[in-house]
Subunit: 286 residues, 2 copies
């Protein structure tokens, strides 16, 4: 449960059952890391929310209000997680058709940090999920709240030794993990799926891509088939909360944990991008 | 807004913002017609809910309780609409991973009948939507609450002369309307998409298919490409609320309104399957 929350600016615990967010998943969300009482990469999260609203035809999110609410909730916590939901609001009884003048619902809530074993930042084992991500260019990249594919994928395994499941597109190329983006290093290339027909354009992925040049890497946006993994020098998973986990195996096939992952982890820790990375130890967990 | 509602059996107006129905669209819904104070095709709706819960790995819905709640709300109305939502309930902070012991949320609410021009039951004009339905066999047929594709499709037009938009699969075959199933008649064949990789297995579609033999029709489950439409003798749309609308044109191409549509409409009216069909006039609106 939330430690604190604001629903349309009020400290209440209720969403109308007729909210289109519940009825149709007609909305967006963001998961933001809080470190030292501040939401991290806030502008990047708001950029994505804005772009998602444009893609779904939602009214422009009230960025100044969200900034105020997000920072107010974060201020009360040293470390934690902020969630922001932004839906098309209560429907007007016309079914799927959006209201002419929607009154969006916004929820900003603060949650405890999840307990994650610190070994995860040294390398994780992944599986390949059986369920595939469907191809839908109209929604690709958007962090919307139609997430049943991820729920079903994450239901496929219980083994705590498997940190993440990778999801393939209909052609069998890796798109992302259930809750993370996937990137790989081959020589001087940083390879990551283009997310043109499926997947979420993660904020931490964007940060990693923006740093690539400074690390002497060129970015290649393309799908990676599992059979190509043995050719990769490194692979890693990113999201706003974990920062980065090196991938040390996928479905039993080993991948080295290498210097690029470690350099990114050190930079993330330096910049305090997530409270789950220690400040001084170059990228270890809490 | 709802005229009356029960959230987990209580007459309240609130869903927890942490409900997985809102967070991920992790749930199911049913839209049930009320006629003469009774929910119609209730058992068929509950069969589909049960099957949807099995597909999503949700706990079995409490059918006896839902029956009691649905019938209690319906009893207070001559005609109307019941909505039933059934979600995986409040999450336990583990993200997409379902809780080990989920406590589902159920919402049963009653709404006014929508105002629909009665000419719709004489024949409707349809468009072809630009957005396509993605292929996802794991979710096909299920009436889940990940409905952004339908929301985007229904956002494509405002012209009230266009009653429905037909949605195509990635191969370009018609799957269904945004809120209706699609069926066509060719000779003695009743043709309808198989819904094996996309679409909702509608309760009224199921009723129509079950009556086919009695009307001398054999059922063919296959996709119909728009260019095949001129070969069709009839086509129609179904859902639990409208019953059936004959299709008289798709994207400007005419289709005859014929005897099979009229016979189905007469049967639906006789059996009072929806309050939007008059009892004695063989299938006209209110």
């Amino acid at each position: 449960m939330a430690e604190a929350r604001l629903v349309n600016g009020r400290a209440e615990a209720a969403i109308a059952p007729e909210d289109r967010g519940l009825a149709y998943g007609d909305g967006l969300f963001e998961t933001v890391a809080i470190a030292d009482g501040r939401p991290r990469l806030w502008d990047e999260h708001m950029d994505r929310l804005l772009e998602g609203a444009r893609r779904l035809g939602l009214p422009e999110p009230p960025l100044a209000t969200l900034h105020e609410e997000g920072h107010a909730l974060a201020r009360e916590a040293s470390g934690g997680v902020l969630k922001v939901y932004y839906t098309r609001g209560v429907g007007d009884g016309r079914g799927y058709r959006p209201p002419d003048r929607p009154e969006p619902t916004r929820v900003v809530s603060r949650h405890e940090l999840p307990a994650i074993p610190r070994e995860r930042w040294e390398g994780v084992d992944c599986r390949l999920c059986r369920i595939r991500l469907s191809a839908q260019p109209a929604l690709a990249g958007v962090k919307h709240i139609n997430r049943l594919e991820q729920v079903l994928a994450r239901s496929e395994w219980q083994d705590p030794a498997v940190a993440e499941g990778l999801m393939l597109d209909p052609e069998g190329a890796i798109v992302e993990g259930t809750a993370t983006n996937f990137l790989a290093v081959r020589g001087r290339a940083l390879v990551t799926p283009a997310l043109a027909s499926a997947g979420v354009a993660g904020v931490m992925r964007r940060w990693v891509l923006a740093q690539a040049e400074a690390l002497g890497l060129r970015v290649e946006r393309r799908g990676i088939h599992p059979e190509e993994l043995p050719e990769m020098d490194e692979a890693f998973l990113t999201n706003s909360l974990i920062g980065l986990w090196p991938v040390r195996s996928v479905a039993g096939h080993q991948i080295p944990v290498g210097p690029i992952s470690r350099r990114y982890l050190a930079r993330m820790a330096e910049q305090r991008l997530t409270p789950l990375l220690g400040q001084a130890d170059g990228g270890h967990g809490p």
